[in-house]
Symmetry: C2
Subunit: 435 residues, 2 copies
């Protein structure tokens, strides 16, 4: 169920659109209007948006066109997950508790993109406070399935060509997993490189603002602005290290997708070795829940009992779990983190790969799927990126996650670009064979 | 003001005492009694102990002698900081809030040492809950001066030959700084290697159980049991990297001690290069306060207002600071940590060195000195060790801290042994010259 690329400018990648704009072949207003038209046509089905302000966006686009801005992202339409502040709009967090609160300032990450010329089209649907209670967004590849979460709207809107790039956040697996389910690229930066102030925190020591886009090049272009850094470009193929499979936790199609990915990377000239680091282990999953629940409890500590009653059952239970965590439990969890980081240090210079999700997006909208393959890397603060690798038996996308074990994650982007090319070559070969 | 080594077995290092016991030249009971006699003689001046139980310790020592135990630490007398549980004794934390509470179980770190034959002589004085409010302990080199804190009693007792080894804890600089003030070796393990359950937590993600002893070899012997790991032995001199001096924060005698230390390391054949990592920076100090205060607030959250009134003003103020920290502040602090870790990764394979404290132990008992040179490393979870390097203008000890930037800290112990030898050679040369 591949989504047909729109004929309009809405079908352009960020890099292509920006290139055409600079060349005078595309106006910012034209690009924006194509995106707005696409949203109008598709939103009833996909339901990716909370707030949109076409007039505000058009006014900004017109200004870009009049001034012929040469800013690096001038004219790029973007969406912003509705846990991140944009001045003048509510930050709804998909909770009745936030109704009526309008943000007075724009989050720093968004300000950096706006300063570079990006145009915020609107706010995208999140699960309740970026935790697990789903929003109404559907998977554009199959509206009967979840797009994943918590960055549901951002992933779905990008996959469905509403916008080329969206801001998302991840605390467990909220960028990487929806990217896999929606067949797009998702990037969770290494912790600490994108300023997070101006977001509604779930767990401040884990919450990371990142991106959804349809190509690695688009992610790289926007991330460079958001992180204010230029990454090195690799001159040789990356060395990949395969996470130890977790067959009991992985659907056969995803297991096969990982095998295919390894073959494709090797065919493209990369070295791929096996590792002893697990794709899933309870040893790292439990500490994530411990650290996160303690911080979530703190984030919601100021709520009165009355107002706490307006939270979902699942979020309330998680807060209560966090309140009960003992010092011994928290210290034991942090000890596991520290020791896992020392194991990870042995992989510096390599890129870890494994499944980005258990398999295809689950049927139904009552759950956004599980983040068991993602939580360890969020906990370890490393940079992660999803690269789509093919389709499963139901025609739904599958993604591979790439992880840079070094704290700065400098080589992740060039490794992802390599993998994206390798996977595309594999697909063109296999369709060539089928023909 | 060097303390004369006692003629008795109390003057022995852990390694020497253990060696003599195994050779049949020293009974466990004899060793213990020598320590108890030393404590009786010196305690009125030093005031390092809270709880002692000579009968319990003697019964254990007699058992060691009768069974001729071959356990690796059989007969080693140790002290335990009074924030760590020993079954049957109160864990007083130097607070009226804990009076009457007797620990029902022994902390895991202590259990490991007891299982290896170590004999707990008693509990040593801590500052209030291992925060800043001083206990009554005096510096054995000069009773008018602080021994440092929060592990005041452990450092003073070891320096004064009450016991060869004591368990201590560090959240900011509570092991490394008192070791410098008392002229002994202090070891803060890399976070996560010593189990901390059974301690009274201040900030669980920072609190680390470590050791005070008079030699690096003693620390290595006991740490191997406490961490349950064997460290590699270096075959070549370590590469040292000197932290950028902080002249405004450092007393001239300490600045000179660092210069002397570098000369001694070079004379002993080591390479020492200068670095751009600062010995002190507000950039890392503030995040330590933020992360720590948030966790301290949580540790004391269950106290009723009445009972909170029994805390010191300084601890109450710190708790209130923690309660006020916003998500933005906490995330910004954690971002600094993450980025500092990525800078630190560039020094893997080297050992960082710098001052362990600002200078000699301050006069007076109203403050235990400041931890500004220690907090960054506690925050970054790396292993640190103090090695004494000489005396200041008032005859008080000065220590150098060595830091292993890698998360497992495997090379710290052999580097410290190298530095200890190098500093000893320097001192014998200079006294040779003076003679």
């Amino acid at each position: 169920m591949i989504i047909a690329v729109p004929d309009s400018a809405a079908g352009l990648s960020a890099v292509d659109g920006l290139t055409r704009r600079v060349a005078g072949l595309l106006g910012a207003r034209e690009w924006l209007d194509a995106c707005l038209a696409r949203i109008d046509a598709r939103e009833p089905t996909v339901q990716a948006w909370v707030t949109r302000d076409a007039e505000r966006a058009r006014a900004t686009a017109d200004k870009v066109d009049i001034t012929s801005s040469a800013a690096p992202l001038a004219g790029l339409p973007i969406g912003v997950k509705d846990v991140i502040d944009v001045a003048g709009w509510p930050t709804g967090c998909n909770s009745p508790l936030e109704s009526g609160c309008v943000a007075s300032a724009t989050a720093k990450a968004v300000r950096r993109l706006e300063a570079a010329g990006a145009i915020v089209v609107g706010k995208t649907v999140t699960t309740e406070y970026a935790f697990v209670e789903p929003g109404r967004t559907r998977n554009p590849h199959d509206p009967a399935r979840t797009p994943g979460g918590s960055s549901s709207g951002s992933a779905a809107a990008v996959a469905d060509f509403h916008i080329p790039v969206a801001l998302s956040t991840q605390t467990g697996g909220s960028i990487i997993r929806p990217a896999s389910y929606c067949g797009i690229v998702g990037y969770k930066p290494p912790y600490g490189w994108v300023p997070s102030d101006g977001m509604h925190y779930l767990a401040p020591s884990l919450d990371t603002i990142g991106l959804h886009a349809r190509t690695v090049a688009d992610i790289a272009r926007v991330a460079a602005v958001m992180e204010e850094r230029a990454l090195p470009v690799a001159s040789a193929p990356p060395c990949f290290a395969l996470l130890r499979p977790a067959p009991a936790e992985t659907q056969p199609a995803m297991t096969q997708a990982v095998v295919n990915a390894v073959s494709a990377l090797r065919a493209a000239g990369a070295n791929v070795r096996e590792t002893d680091l697990p794709a899933f282990s309870a040893e790292l999953d439990v500490p994530h829940r411990v650290v996160m629940s303690v911080e979530v409890a703190r984030s919601f500590a100021a709520l009165t009992a009355d107002r706490r009653g307006l939270l979902s059952e699942s979020l309330r239970a998680f807060i209560e779990r966090g309140e009960r965590i003992s010092g011994d439990e928290l210290a034991a969890a942090q000890a596991v983190v520290a020791r896992a980081k020392s194991k990870l240090a042995a992989y510096t210079g390599e890129i870890l790969i494994g499944p980005a999700a258990q398999g295809e997006a689950p049927v139904g909208l009552t759950s956004t799927g599980t983040a068991i393959f993602n939580r360890p890397w969020s906990l370890l603060h490393v940079g992660v990126i999803t690269v789509p690798v093919g389709l499963g038996p139901n025609g739904m996308p599958l993604g591979i996650q790439l992880i840079d074990p070094s704290p700065a994650g400098e080589w992740l982007m060039s490794a992802a670009a390599f993998a994206e090319r390798a996977f595309a070559q594999m697909q063109s070969h296999s369709s060539g064979r089928a023909a």
